[in-house]
């Protein structure tokens, strides 16, 4: 059931998200350095040149799953924020606007309300 997309895709996805967060200078960020480091260390390659020299490396599978998780985290927070701003970000209307919706106006008290100075 753990059919995840290839490490290259995940890496590209994470870098895209980092670029969306930090703008053009994302290559100088901490996260970029760490992520590239991890991907290089756990590179899936052919047995002769494999870093750990094993065909099935558990740490590699774990790192792959973790990278997928981090990509999911970055992507979902960004989408969540997007949807929030799109649909729920307008805030409340002021009392004047609310009254105006039904064609009324708020009363004005020349002396100010009791609790106002």
């Amino acid at each position: 059931m753990a059919a995840l997309s290839s490490p290259l895709r995940v890496c590209r996805g994470i870098l895209k998200e980092l670029r969306a967060i930090q703008g053009p200078g994302y290559k100088r960020s901490l996260a970029y350095g760490y992520v590239m480091d991890q991907f290089r260390k756990n590179k899936a390659s052919l047995p002769p040149s494999n870093v750990t020299g094993e065909r099935y490396c558990r740490a590699q599978q774990e790192a792959h799953h973790d990278s997928h998780t981090y990509l999911c985290l970055l992507e979902s927070t960004r989408n969540h924020m997007l949807l929030h701003n799109l649909y729920h970000g307008k805030g409340e209307r002021s009392p004047e606007e609310v009254a105006g919706l039904v064609g009324l106006r708020l009363p004005t008290q020349p002396g100010g309300k009791g609790w106002e100075k």
Binding site: S29, D66, H68, Y70, S76, M81
Partner: protein, 285 residues
């Protein structure tokens, strides 16, 4: 003492709302962070960096101030990866600080402060309580499409966890739910005891979000990905969406929020419980 400072530059300008008011002391700026509930906190820092303090614990620095938890303690993280992830979260904030998007920070604060003062055993009992009302075990009898979907998607996960942990968890169609034998609960209790306090905080969070112990364990054991676990948790909703249509501002919104929280919890557990060492093998000529 050797302190390694890593700087993280940001491109965007900020509104230094507190620049006139605060002196560069460690207590003043950070202590005010979470106190104002009504007013929105503006981003008052430019750079986020991490540094290593005493005991090998990592701290987050906002400009030159150290980050503190809402309880007033110094914000320390056991490993570097988590520190970097938290720093990225803080760096992702633009004009205002939106705490509801900073899931990893919230989890760290809960683990550090432990405001409800829970012990490991209490957390394990609370987590296991979800087993009795586990999403994956509750089946319906109609509509037929949903029954099939549940059997096709949830049964494999149940079989997997039953094999992996050598337990029996049935599924049931009644309102009372399945009967979970004590042996099953004991097995899980033993397994959960092996996690440290931080990992357990994260794990309980994930279980609460997904409303299922089975799916959470499947994801933590890396049998399922986050998207798969969230999909399985929302199976009935997905069925209804396919039947009646998708409402973006409700369904997608909830799905992304659930994904974000679950991914944060999973990452938190994995980073808090792993430790990596590099052993150099001798090259053979």
């Amino acid at each position: 003492m050797f302190r390694s400072l890593l700087r993280l530059q940001t491109q965007f300008g900020n509104t230094l709302l507190f620049s006139k008011v605060c002196q560069r002391s460690q207590h003043c700026g950070s202590a005010q962070k979470y106190s104002t509930a009504a007013a929105e906190r503006k981003r008052f820092y430019q750079d986020v960096s991490i540094s290593q303090g005493e005991g090998g614990l990592y701290e987050i620095n906002l400009d030159r101030r150290k980050l503190k938890t809402p309880g007033g303690k110094l914000f320390t993280v056991p490993n570097e990866a988590l520190a970097i992830a938290v720093a990225t979260e803080w760096d992702a904030q633009r004009d205002t600080l939106k705490f509801y998007t900073m899931h990893l920070t919230t989890l760290c604060n809960t683990a550090l402060d432990n405001p409800t003062e829970r012990t490991k055993d209490q957390m394990i009992s609370a987590a296991l309580k979800f087993l009795e009302t586990d999403t994956v075990c509750y089946r319906v009898e109609d509509p037929h499409g949903l029954v099939e979907l549940q059997n096709n998607e949830w049964d494999p996960v149940l079989h997997w966890i039953e094999n992996r942990y050598n337990v029996t968890i049935g599924s049931s169609c009644s309102i009372m739910g399945p009967e979970i034998p004590e042996a099953t609960k004991d097995t899980f209790r033993q397994h959960l005891k092996s996690y440290n306090f931080w990992s357990l905080t994260g794990l309980e969070y994930v279980i609460t979000q997904l409303k299922s112990v089975v799916l959470s364990m499947g994801m933590i054991d890396r049998h399922l990905s986050v998207e798969q676990a969230v999909l399985l948790s929302r199976l009935e909703e997905e069925y209804q969406i396919r039947r009646w249509g998708n409402v973006e501002w409700a369904h997608d919104y909830d799905m992304y929020e659930l994904r974000a929280r679950t991914a944060a919890g999973a990452l938190f557990v994995h980073l808090s419980s792993e430790s990596s060492t590099v052993k150099r093998k001798l090259l053979q000529d």
